[in-house]
């Protein structure tokens, strides 16, 4: 077991691409750290630098107390699970799992014992004699896990290990990996582009973008208190709604004006310095409710026309257009492209489509006018210039 530390680490490829830019990150002993971000954000490169599969251009990577910059992978006491599984096709499942132990010249008895233990944990006992090509995707993935855990390494590295599995198996393996990691207590770094995996698995989640670390925090904190527009948009599904708004002083408090709507906010004195200035208002889908269900609780209201209703059973996603403008900053545009969100493209000037997660009791239908109650305590504000969050304490 060991902690892992990135100390001002950069990676510049031969063609000049800066894949990782001055990364500072400490992963504590036994922690499950998830690196998440869109394609090309540098998360896999960062992981490969810990593995020793990628040279470090600048900075220091430590595993435990050791600086490992110049150590070969075999001397780093790590194990890695690859996106493609990377099983040795000419070896049986048993030999695949035993491979790192044989290389380390562990005694035959010990190899037998450890392989049997790994096979038991991963439910692979019936398949030990098979070759990888005779296994299903999920079984191959488990063999790859077995090869990693059998070594009892100081650090597990996992590079999108679930991305080749179907959705159902992915959910199951997600839980299995988390359970195994908790049981073994091995420091783990897990790379994924899937924010659901990141949120469900990580003790902490590090969000990366264009080689830079955006925020590192426990999943709930990341969700509740994103430091910038990028993190706010990346974490959460459906994504946070983002609107252009303007702050105005109103009586003893402030109001946020978006289009023809005006949200009175009495508990947001820290917005007062932004009087008269544009801000980006972020509203999570679940922080909105059909006003007919919410009742008259004094919450601010938005009015719009329902464009689409998606009943999910436990709740209903309602897409509705309001007379306001979507905030289209570079961050938002990039996020929309990355997740294939076409809300930005389909908009007329002057209207924005929001997504609300309503109670299944809502009766709104497509084409209806709807009044939406907004939880004023759950609103997010961002500076449109810097993209940074604006909040009190």
């Amino acid at each position: 077991m060991a902690r892992v530390e990135f100390d001002d680490v950069s990676k510049v490829f031969a063609d000049g691409t800066r894949a990782v830019d001055r990364l500072d990150l400490q992963i504590t002993d036994g922690e499950f750290m998830v690196l998440v971000g869109p394609s090309g954000c540098g998360k896999t490169t960062a992981l490969r630098m810990v593995a020793g599969l990628e040279d470090i251009s600048d900075g220091v990577v430590r595993i435990g107390e050791r600086v490992v910059n110049d150590l070969t992978p075999k001397r780093r006491d790590i194990a890695m699970v690859f996106q493609s599984y990377a099983l040795y096709p000419h070896l049986s499942v048993r030999d695949n799992i035993a491979f790192p132990l044989k290389i380390a010249k562990v005694s035959k008895d010990e190899i037998g014992r450890r392989v049997a233990e790994a096979a038991r944990i991963l439910d692979l006992e019936p398949y030990l004699k098979r070759k990888p090509r005779a296994l299903s995707g999920g079984q191959r993935q488990r063999v790859a896990m077995g090869r990693a855990i059998v070594r009892q390494p100081a650090v597990f590295l996992m590079d999108e290990p679930l991305s080749n599995l179907d959705a159902k198996l992915r959910v199951q393996m997600r839980a299995d990996i988390k359970k195994i990691q908790s049981k073994l207590g091995v420091t783990s770094i897990y790379v994924t582009h899937d924010q659901v995996e990141a949120m469900t698995m990580g003790d902490r989640v590090a969000v990366m973008r264009k080689g830079e670390l955006q925020q590192v925090a426990p999943p709930q904190e990341l969700y509740d208190r994103p430091v910038n527009l990028f993190v706010a948009g990346f974490i959460g599904s459906p994504a946070m709604n983002m609107l252009e708004a303007r702050v105005e002083r109103a009586g003893g408090g402030v109001a946020v004006v978006l289009g023809d709507a005006r949200l009175e906010l009495s508990d947001h004195p820290w917005l007062a310095p932004y009087d008269g200035q544009p801000v980006v208002l972020g509203i999570r889908p679940e922080d909105m409710e059909d006003a007919a269900i919410a009742g008259d609780d004094g919450s601010p209201r938005l009015r719009g026309r329902v464009e689409l209703r998606e009943a999910l059973g436990a709740d209903v996603l309602v897409h509705f257009a309001v007379a306001a403008r979507s905030a289209v900053t570079e961050d938002v545009r990039e996020l929309a492209e990355d997740v294939g969100d076409d809300r930005l493209r389909s908009e007329d000037a002057g209207t924005a489509t929001l997504v609300g997660r309503f109670s299944p009791r809502t009766r709104v239908l497509e084409g209806d006018n709807v009044e939406v109650s907004v939880d004023r305590n759950a609103l997010h504000f961002f500076d449109p210039q810097t993209g940074l969050a604006i909040r009190g304490s």
């Binding site: 593995a51 020793g52 599969l53 070969t72 992978p73 075999k74 790590i78 194990a79 890695m80 690859f82 996106q83 493609s84 599984y85 990377a86 099983l87 040795y88 096709p89 000419h90 491979f99 790192p100 290389i103 380390a104 070759k131 990888p132 090509r133 005779a134 296994l135 995707g137 191959r140 090869r147 070594r151 590295l157 080749n164």
Partner: protein, 292 residues
């Protein structure tokens, strides 16, 4: 329906004509040792003679120059196996290095490999002769084995395989699992390259087995000849091909059936190597390694 039948008939006729064109000489060759020299000319070309004639042809062939034919077959095996072994030991790792290594001059070496591949072997015989002469190897076995073992096509085949068919993540996995570069090659890259090893073995062996010009130039002693040069020696000792040695009470009893038998025997090892190599070639070893 009628048009389709006519089309089929035309296709079959064309195919049959080509098949006969190529099969006829092979069939003639296979049948030739079963006939006497005279019957070979006078009887039906595709008639079977007698096994007795085969035994007689072998007796004459084996008696030629005190069993020198056996020596030629042995020499060829020795040259081809030695050179192919060196080719495999040097060529497969070289291809691997060119495919996964990143070092200065890599592209130059690759280009040179390609260039040398397309230069006809005969064009290099004179410079090789001069080189071997300079290092006093002319006339030795090494004068054949060393040039034979220079097989850029094998390097290029291995390079192509490792650059295109071997998933890089397998090599990364081996490194993370504790292998150094040599172990990564020996334990992962090499076992996965069985089809390519078989292919390089086959092409190299056949090229070495069939090479005539180089040994003809660098070997002076007929005891050192490989079978290709030996066949030429036999031809020049056959009265029907070289009247200068014909008739006149000579003890050389090499006629057309003996030559045909010698040719057939010369082909057998290549056919065996092909059969064994082919089995390994068709196996897709990389299946299941990584998610397809």
């Amino acid at each position: 329906m009628r048009i389709r039948m006519v089309g089929l008939g035309v296709r079959l006729t064309i195919l049959a004509a080509f098949a006969i064109f190529f099969i006829a000489p092979v069939l003639w060759l296979v049948l030739a040792p079963t006939k006497s020299d005279h019957a070979l000319i006078t009887s039906n070309p595709f008639a079977f003679g007698d096994f007795h004639n085969v035994a007689l042809a072998w007796k004459h062939l084996d008696a030629f120059s005190s069993h020198i034919f056996r020596r030629w077959v042995g020499n060829t095996l020795f040259y081809a196996v030695s050179a192919t072994a060196i080719t495999l030991v040097a060529g497969v790792p070289a291809g691997y290095g060119l495919a996964i290594g990143r070092f200065p001059g890599r592209k130059l070496v690759l280009s040179l490999t390609l260039v040398v591949m397309i230069v006809p072997g005969a064009a290099l015989v004179l410079p090789i002769f001069l080189e071997l002469n300079a290092v006093h190897l002319i006339g030795s076995s090494l004068s054949v084995i060393l040039p034979f073992s220079f097989f850029p096509f094998g390097v290029y085949l291995a390079y192509l395989y490792y650059a295109t068919a071997l998933p890089p993540s397998l090599l990364d996995a081996a490194r993370v699992d504790g292998c150094g570069e040599l172990q990564t090659f020996l334990r992962v890259a090499l076992p996965l390259a069985k089809p390519i090893v078989a292919l390089v073995f086959f092409f190299s062996f056949v090229a070495d087995w069939n090479n005539f010009f180089l040994p003809y130039v660098v070997l002076a002693d007929s005891n050192q000849y490989p079978i290709t040069v030996g066949l030429w020696d036999l031809l020049s000792s056959t009265p029907s091909f070289n009247p200068a040695v014909g008739g006149g009470g000579q003890s050389v009893k090499i006629f057309k059936p003996e030559l045909a038998l010698a040719t057939l025997i010369a082909v057998v090892p290549v056919a065996i190597v092909f059969l064994f190599s082919q089995r390994a070639l068709v196996r897709g070893l990389v299946g299941g390694a990584v998610k397809e």
